[in-house]
Symmetry: C2
Subunit: 333 residues, 2 copies
Amino acid sequence: MSELRHNIATGDWVIFSTARARRPHDFAQAKKEIKAIPEHKADCPFCPGNEKMAGTELFRIGDEGSWRVRSVPNRFPALSPDENIARKSDGFYTSMGGFGHHEVIIESPRHNTCIALMNNEEAEDIIRAYVNRYAVLHKIPGIENVTLFKNHGPMAGCSLEHPHSQVVAGPITPPHLRNRIAQAVNYFEMTGTCVYCKMIEKELEADTRVLLDTGKFISFLPFAGILPFTVWIIPRRHLSSFADMEESEIKDLAYILKYTLEKLYYGLSDPDFNLTIRSISALAENAKFFHWYMSIIPRLSEPGGFEMGTAMAINTAMPEASAEFLRRVKCGV
Amino acid sequence: MSELRHNIATGDWVIFSTARARRPHDFAQAKKEIKAIPEHKADCPFCPGNEKMAGTELFRIGDEGSWRVRSVPNRFPALSPDENIARKSDGFYTSMGGFGHHEVIIESPRHNTCIALMNNEEAEDIIRAYVNRYAVLHKIPGIENVTLFKNHGPMAGCSLEHPHSQVVAGPITPPHLRNRIAQAVNYFEMTGTCVYCKMIEKELEADTRVLLDTGKFISFLPFAGILPFTVWIIPRRHLSSFADMEESEIKDLAYILKYTLEKLYYGLSDPDFNLTIRSISALAENAKFFHWYMSIIPRLSEPGGFEMGTAMAINTAMPEASAEFLRRVKCGV
């Protein structure tokens, strides 16, 4: 059996292939022992005492000697504030300087932790740092888009063990976001409503893919998620920019994020994952048609040539079965 | 130094980050000994003598007992001809049966070879098989798109050692192709010419990214290729469908493909790669605006969260330097 599902927010079709399918618990990996990693490493640039190795501090929560979360420049920046934003073109090929900012958010002084294992206050500090960096970078002239993301584990492209996220602020709206904006505008034109607001309504109604509803946020496995156990976390209130959250929403987001990551941590034995925040670009403020959300995509298999060559995903797990499995996972054990 | 380059055929911007850059020869991997693999494996479903293990033969070049290239069904098909193509929708979520065909093209009776090491006649047989399967599947009612691709090596998603390619024929035009069609239509509307024809002209003029010009095809490293050593092979004659090649072009394509893969094989020590043929979908025949081409993307690094979350690529090698490096590679040594 094979089914194609349309993602109305992205316009893409995803192949759900049960001939290649595995049962949810087949995705659980060999047990990893995160506690075997030391709490402090002498040569880690993100561990306390090594602050000088990490470069100029850009943001901090907590006191200098007892910080809880901090932000520093990426040592191998993809973009740099010194580059020139002016387009150069021969009428066919166009280029510009790689203008922008690339920061690392150090999520904890502890080397051997992750959001799934933190307490609520620790997770809230991370969200506060996210909001601060997003809001500050978003306002810099020439910046059109701020991408906030987290690579957890080597399969997700993470090269440093110490828990951290990254922020890339650049002069271009990336293809994924540009595409979602175009889809959302079309949907708004056709219906007069935000496609994400409608999706939240549909998900709460169906109740087969929802992990948690806090009243302010829902965490759910999208109808046409691209990879097994893809989860979205989205505010129930219509809000196009991540920067415009209220304090009570920051707390709630920290809670639902930790809840979701705990489910994955205990259910699938700490899988590698990519977390991305999709928020409106500087192209529009307070957009009626767009709605920010967070996507969490476990990296349980590698994309092959079909996915690379088509941008069409093959998902081997049905979201309803994965949601059912995660709802039963017992955490903290 | 960091530079953003616009790809006029895809509309995307690629970040070229020299802060993260490596010199071309840094991409060469540890030597792999392909000759250490046996020429025949008793348990390989693609080796001669095991034809029954591979299922019903769909196409063959050569006699039954001494075939040179053959095509069989994929044992774990992503799509199936038995599924129902009718859309089911509640007005928001839409799905359909996973209708389509999924074949494997076995490229050689020899277990331990690859196109880079074959002679011209062997490579020609593979292209003939590609053209046959593309043309046959393309004509099936309900099929909108045929994707022909090859995963070489485990990092490219290849799970079977015996040299093979895959064909997926489905009822949807995949996002990458849909996007390229839209871009190409816009360019045609603005200029009255095919964006790929113009690109060929620009590349031959600049001559800094061209690997080989056979008169019928060019092989070049695109101005804004998404990953290090991305190569495109494209017919100089305007041709929207891969299926419409003439016999002399089939021979020429086999030659330039083998030439290009040899350069990668000897220059980068047999890198894993994804090969994809992008050809017009059944949406249009003899399209003035579209031009088929083959892309070859070595998998020298894994995409991380930034690439996953934005669809914006970070390329750590300049195509001009990579082209210069490949032009100097001595093959067959």
